[in-house]
């Protein structure tokens, strides 16, 4: 049932124009100072859950204390509209917090320097921060080019030389772009066709990239308004090493917005969808693609589809065992399942789970919630093995750095 399409022709002329536009107006990123935005660390209340807290699937939890995670928050229980981001250890202790004037979304880390992070604001924002986790400082802030806004996600090339960001080229009609930046200067050097409208999460895939094109057209003058729900055409696009759209997969329902993804160690791409169709429909929301060109929507039982409730926030892949975890904030559930099917998905009840990331060792996943918890999940048994309560309203996403 998958509508699979061939490579899309690129328009060299429009691409050159776009690059000239960027080069003329973007300029060098502006430094905004360092420690001014740093706030004090906030106490955390850890709660080991049962005997599994000492060890799960071979990963002693105490070893996770040295892991570092980063996530944005939209505020705290007391001040719901004071956004920022925080660096936590693997047990959920908040180590550093940073206040920002806007909500952040995804994060990217430099493969050559785990202390160097990039934080991307939520759509339709135009800010991207470079952060030194080691120094606890925001090193600089850049803005997207004119006529562009970010879509909340970025990733670095394997060698750390380039930073790729998903962006809306609304000045030229809302084309989806993957803007390539020099990872040191952050100056834009290229703008690729993302393969669709509304590019959202992206990841390295083989020698190229994989991009989730949500399909929803937006414009910053109409923030958060979805402009093309009747005609939207989401897809998952594979970009080759030269940045050309090499393959593209469309979900069976054109209102199934492909937003987030995770690449497994076996080279599969799991996609997490958000449904924009009729409010009383509860369709399947997990897709699975392979480099060989297969793309299927995993068929879940009705109960699981109800828990997904038309909206999956994040998806992550664990390595040992090879499983997928998806967070369903509307349905108050975390789903753990194997890549060969979601029929036997295990369900973990949690109030409004949001970001998910697998931790060192590959057997434990961390999940943040809107109610302030960081949960550690034993991926094999689908059980919560540790809970830390914080005052933060954690936004979608979470990244192990």
């Amino acid at each position: 049932m998958t509508d699979r399409q061939g490579p899309q022709n690129d328009s060299a002329a429009s691409r050159r124009r776009f690059l000239r536009l960027l080069a003329a107006a973007a300029g060098l990123p502006a430094a905004i100072g360092t420690a001014a935005l740093l706030t004090r660390p906030t106490p955390t209340t850890p709660t080991p859950i049962g005997p599994a807290a000492s060890a799960a699937a071979g990963t002693p939890l105490r070893e996770l204390e040295s892991a570092r995670l980063v996530s944005g928050f939209r505020g705290t229980a007391e001040r719901a509209d004071e956004p920022g981001f925080a660096i936590l250890d693997g047990l959920g202790n908040v180590l550093q917090t940073f206040s920002t004037a806007y909500r952040l979304h995804g994060f990217a880390r430099d493969p050559n320097d785990a202390d160097r992070l990039f934080a991307i604001c939520r759509r339709p924002g135009t800010e991207l921060l470079e952060v030194s986790a080691g120094a606890g400082t925001i090193e600089r802030q850049i803005r997207s080019g004119p006529g562009h806004h970010f879509y909340g996600h970025a990733v670095l090339s394997a060698d750390g030389g380039h930073l790729f960001t998903t962006e809306n080229d609304y000045a030229t009609g809302g084309h989806g772009r993957v803007v390539v930046r020099d990872a040191q200067t952050l100056a834009p050097i290229d703008a690729l066709d993302s393969g669709g409208i509304g590019p959202h999460e992206l990841a390295r895939f083989g020698a190229g990239l994989v991009v989730a094109n949500g399909g929803i057209q937006t414009h910053p003058d109409l923030p958060r308004r979805k402009l093309n729900l009747d005609s939207m055409r989401p897809n998952l696009a594979i970009l080759d090493r030269d940045g050309r759209v090499n393959d593209r997969f469309e979900p069976p329902d054109h209102q199934m917005s492909v937003r987030h993804l995770a690449v497994t160690e076996a080279g599969l791409i799991a996609t997490a969808q958000q449904y924009e169709g009729a409010p009383d429909r509860y369709p399947d929301l997990i897709g699975l693609a392979s480099a060989a060109g297969d793309y299927d929507t995993l068929t879940a039982p009705r109960r699981v589809r109800r828990l997904m409730n038309r909206y999956i926030a994040s998806v992550a892949a664990s390595a040992k065992p090879a499983r997928l975890l998806a967070t369903c904030p509307r349905g108050n559930a975390i789903l753990a399942f194997d890549a060969d099917g979601i029929q036997a998905a295990q369900i973990i009840g949690a109030r409004a789970p949001n970001g998910v990331a697998t931790l060192p060792g590959g057997s434990i996943a961390a999940v943040t919630t809107l109610s302030g918890d960081l949960l550690l999940i034993d991926a094999a048994r689908a059980r919560v093995v540790h809970r830390a309560s914080t005052p933060y309203i954690w936004d979608n996403h979470l990244l192990w750095i």
Partner: protein, 350 residues
């Protein structure tokens, strides 16, 4: 009209649970009329009624402590039920500055910590323990008035000075907090909410309204129904339900859904609701919204006996109710999008 005929035929033919006749088309109404209707006919009377019920309960418990007897105990229990139902009716109209006072968190947060409450009733307990949120509010009063099978309550227990002192302390706080919330409405906010020339824009006021309806629905799904029923992969924990000791769980749920239905469809004839506003943009969506809230109320009413019993004995009917409320949630989310309100469902990160 064609669509309505088709829907009715479909429902009759398939007998799908929860699928009902879509009813007559929803007439369109302007934003000002909808705000005035909901503020005047839905919000204001509910806020006033809850304060009256809180004052009445305090009066009854005071009488019980002054003269402990079966009649006084029953009278207090009746007053407790009235306050709980009034609150359940009011919850979805807790928008605006009143929401920040956190009435649910302070006064209506189940489950009850029975052992802790009992400990507080013992003489010599430190004052800071008695101030703990877990031993206060309507859940604590419910436990003290109704007890349960393990710890039954008798009128003679209110001869105990410690029990009455704590009860009076809690009830004073209940009346004070609910009164403070009512004051916000009566001292300006209510007038501003319904006024034509309000300093707050219509979009701002409608956003507050819809946000609180969504919060209430989410609260029902997680706290008051789905969580205790084990629908999130957990075990069934009926003792986590609101108001199970008094047997009012289901009535409270129904009351909250009725208020959401009134917000959507209006509290009576010629009283427009959110659906009438939506009808300006999308009449089919307006009809669907009306149908979803009406269905949820109807399914709640069909469940017989205490909700705890239904969860254990008839889980299918509880799942039907959950599904109906989930539909309401999704129609409200779509409504906020279609009306382009400045409200985002807080669970939607992006």
């Amino acid at each position: 009209m064609m669509r309505n005929v088709w829907m009715a035929a479909f429902c009759a033919a398939t007998l799908i649970s929860g699928c009902s006749d879509p009813g007559p088309p929803v007439t369109a109404a302007p934003p000002g009329a909808v705000l005035h209707s909901i503020g005047t006919n839905t919000a204001a009377p509910r806020i006033a009624r809850t304060l009256e019920a809180a004052q009445s309960l305090h009066s009854k418990t005071s009488a019980l402590c002054e003269s402990p007897g079966v009649e006084q105990l029953e009278s207090s229990r009746t007053a407790w039920r009235e306050l709980y139902l009034s609150w359940s009716h009011q919850q979805a109209v807790m928008f605006g500055p009143g929401r920040e006072q956190g009435l649910r968190r302070h006064l209506f947060s189940w489950p009850t910590h029975a052992m802790i409450i009992n400990a507080v009733l013992e003489p010599g307990v430190a004052e800071d323990v008695a101030l703990n949120r877990h031993v206060r509010g309507l859940p604590a009063v419910e436990f003290m008035l109704f007890g349960d099978q393990k710890m039954p309550v008798e009128a003679g227990m209110f001869e105990h000075a410690g029990r009455c002192a704590h009860l009076d302390d809690i009830m004073s706080e209940v009346v004070k907090r609910i009164g403070a919330h009512a004051d916000v409405w009566t001292n300006g906010f209510g007038d501003g909410f319904v006024a034509k020339n309000s300093p707050d824009s219509e979009v701002s006021r409608l956003s507050m309204l819809l946000a609180e309806a969504l919060n209430t629905v989410d609260d029902i799904l997680w706290q008051r129904l789905g969580g205790p029923a084990g629908l999130y992969g957990g075990i069934v924990q009926t003792e986590d339900l609101d108001a199970w000791r008094s047997g009012e769980t289901l009535a409270g749920l129904e009351a909250s859904l009725v208020t959401i239905n009134d917000i959507v469809s209006g509290a009576g004839p010629e009283q427009p609701g959110i659906a009438n506003l939506l009808a300006n943009r999308n009449s089919d969506a307006a009809s669907d919204l009306v149908r979803s809230t009406r269905d949820a109320v109807a399914i709640a009413r069909e469940i017989e006996g205490p909700l705890a019993g239904a969860i254990l004995d008839r889980p299918g009917t509880v799942k039907d109710l959950y599904a109906a409320v989930q539909d309401v949630q999704n129609y409200l989310i779509v409504t906020s999008e279609q009306l382009e309100l400045a409200v985002e469902f807080e669970k939607d990160g992006d």
